[in-house]
Amino acid sequence: MTHTIADDTLTVQIPGDVLSTTVEGVRQEVSTLLALPTVKLGCISRLQLDLQRAKMIDSAGVNLLVGLVRACQTANLKLGVIVSSRVVHRTLLFTRLDRHVDIKTTEDAAKSPVPVPA
């Protein structure tokens, strides 16, 4: 897992799917990054997860994002994600995480409209 800090944004590249079997590693990595002095000192205002390599996020992955929403609220950070998979995009919309997370999509994920079930 790699990360970059540019302007006031900390971007974390997630290497693949965010699943029950991988989520703990992601959680620990992001927690470590959020504890960096740069972050603690308020030099960044936005945490961005680059999920372009993820084809699937399961419920454990969704809950990781829920936890990060809370952590970012506490740390006064905005949380954003970049997705390229249509399924991942739909997962985030179905679970209404778009209410709390700024979702950026690449062309592939935005190709077709995403119906949200009633």
């Binding site: 699943l19 699937m56 179905f94 679970t95």
Partner: protein, 525 residues
């Protein structure tokens, strides 16, 4: 593919071989012709590549058994003739002659297909030795090609004779025979008995070669004849046992060993499809599938293959049949190959049956390591499109830690059975399966090794729907998911997210026993 035995001698005709010689130099051509004649070869001589091509094309392929050509000639070189030969008749071996200053050509000459290279001036012994080798090689190549063609023809005949040779089988039976080589030892008989019963007998003669194919055809014909004469199935099988154990063993004058055993499974189905007598001997148990896709073992019990013990009778069991569904039988090659593909045998069976007998266009399936025969006998007019299984497994609770591997298994099974399924839709289905199975293994089975969740996937082709049923032995847990979904979004709750995802991605979800038995339906188009 037929394996050519390099030790088998190729008969030598009276003339040592017919050779085409090519040289623009009249003197060199004269000495070449004389040298070939002295060595017992029949030589035809020309002075250019163009003339050589013309001569070759004016004779039937296979006329010449060696081409000896000079390299440096006005117009086109010997290398160009090699290129022509590679296209026109790759079986004919060729030899290049070149001057001492053309040593650098050796590698290129050999790359272009020539088998040897003669330096000018060459000795009579060198010419004779090189041409003899070339002629012998050409004959072996042609003998091998002929054997391969004949083997392929045997395989084609075997395919046409399978199941009695009819394109439309009695009872709407579907089957696929995929021999590992051009022909194999599996065979299938499908006939109506004089009493109106439907007999479906699939068998696997030991071995994978032409001997097995031949013995397989022998048995196949015997079954047909004996059934038409009203012989009972167990008497036929007793006869096979006698053939394998005693009759053929008495004729072991030849060093060629005959196949020693026969694994088989058979179903003798009553005219009204109400019941069947199932037989098994050294083969996987037949399966009975009802209209809901529930798979039950035939319960025959197996036993050793026919040909192992004297007076051996195959295991049999009479069983009632569902009003709709299938009896499915396969040889062990299918289970072995599904294991190699790390996919469900049901997905492989479906892939083979859905493509019918011409499964050779399916690359992944083609790399089988054993002959494969699979048969589906429809009951009550059911067809393959009515919900044939793609996967059917019992998974113990402790395997929740293997969920990634299970997911890959379902993915490979879906890809095998439904190759045109859109990747995104497949991912959504896999996500739902993952969530449902984790829930079943963690809550319903309490992660215990002695508690099992059942996971069944089947394809309703007619409706373009996939049905996944996940059932665990637990009590389930009901909750109002619609209300919860809103609260989860507003209050950032973390519970029951999996079920929310299942509800979102499935076309339809049915829940029984408080969710301990989930049926997920997915529209595929």
């Amino acid at each position: 593919m037929f394996v050519f035995d390099a030790n088998v001698a190729v008969a030598e005709p009276a003339v040592k071989g017919r050779v085409l010689g090519v040289d623009d130099d009249a003197v060199a051509r004269f000495f070449l012709e004389q040298g070939l004649g002295d060595a017992g070869f029949s030589a035809s001589m020309v002075s250019s590549v163009d003339e050589a091509e013309e001569l070759l094309m004016s004779h039937p392929p296979g006329t010449f058994e060696c081409v000896v050509t000079d390299h440096q000639m006005p117009g086109r070189s010997g290398l160009e003739l090699m290129a022509f030969l590679a296209e026109f008749d790759a079986s004919v071996a060729s030899i290049m002659i070149a001057g001492a200053g053309e040593k650098s050509l050796v590698a290129e000459t050999l790359r272009s297909g020539a088998i040897d290279y003669l330096d000018k001036p060459y000795s009579q012994e060198a010419l004779e030795s090189a041409v003899s080798k070339a002629v012998h090689l050409t004959r072996r190549r042609r003998a091998l090609a002929q054997t391969e063609a004949e083997t392929a023809a045997v395989g084609e005949v075997q395919r046409r004779l399978q199941a009695g040779g009819s394109a439309s089988l009695p009872g709407g039976v579907r089957f696929c025979h995929l021999p590992m080589r051009a022909a194999g030892g599996d065979f299938l008989n499908v006939y109506r008995t004089p009493q109106g019963q439907l007999l479906v007998l699939g068998a696997d003669v030991s071995g994978h070669d032409l001997k097995s194919a031949f013995v397989s055809a022998y048995f196949q014909g015997i079954v047909r004849g004996m059934i038409e004469k009203g012989t009972a199935i167990d008497e036929i099988l007793a006869f096979f046992n006698r053939c394998l154990l005693s009759d053929w063993m008495d004729r072991t004058a030849s060093e060629v060993e005959l196949p020693t055993s026969l694994a088989l499974c058979a179903a003798l189905i009553e005219p009204d499809d109400s019941a069947a007598l199932l037989f098994g001997s050294g083969s996987p148990d037949p399966h009975i599938i009802d209209a809901q896709g529930t798979v039950s073992p035939g319960g025959v019990g197996g036993g050793p293959p026919i040909g192992w013990f004297p007076n051996q009778r195959p295991a049999s069991r009479r069983t009632a049949l569902p009003s709709r569904g299938w009896i499915v039988m396969w040889t062990d090659g299918l289970e072995e190959h599904a294991g190699n593909l790390q996919a469900s045998p049901w997905s492989l069976a479906y892939a083979l049956l859905d493509r019918n007998t011409s499964a050779h266009n399916h690359t992944a399936i083609d790399r089988a390591t054993d002959d494969i025969l699979v048969t589906a006998i429809p009951l009550g007019g059911t067809v393959l499109a009515d919900g044939f299984p793609i996967s059917d497994d019992l998974i113990s609770g402790e395997r929740v830690s293997e969920i990634d591997s299970l997911q890959r298994f379902w993915q490979r099974s879906l890809t095998l059975a439904l190759p045109s399924l859109h990747a995104d839709r497949q991912t959504e289905i896999l996500l739902c399966l993952r969530e449902a199975v984790i829930n079943a293994l963690v809550h319903g089975c309490a992660q215990r090794p002695d508690r099992f969740a059942s996971v069944r996937i089947r394809h309703l082709k007619r409706q373009e729907r996939l049905i996944c049923q996940i059932e665990d032995p637990g009590d389930g847990h009901a909750f109002p998911w619609r209300e919860y979904r809103e609260r989860a979004a507003d209050e950032l709750l973390t519970e029951h997210r999996g079920l929310s995802l299942i509800r979102a991605f499935s076309t339809e979800v049915r829940s029984e026993r408080n969710g301990a038995h989930l049926t997920l339906e997915f529209q595929l188009n």
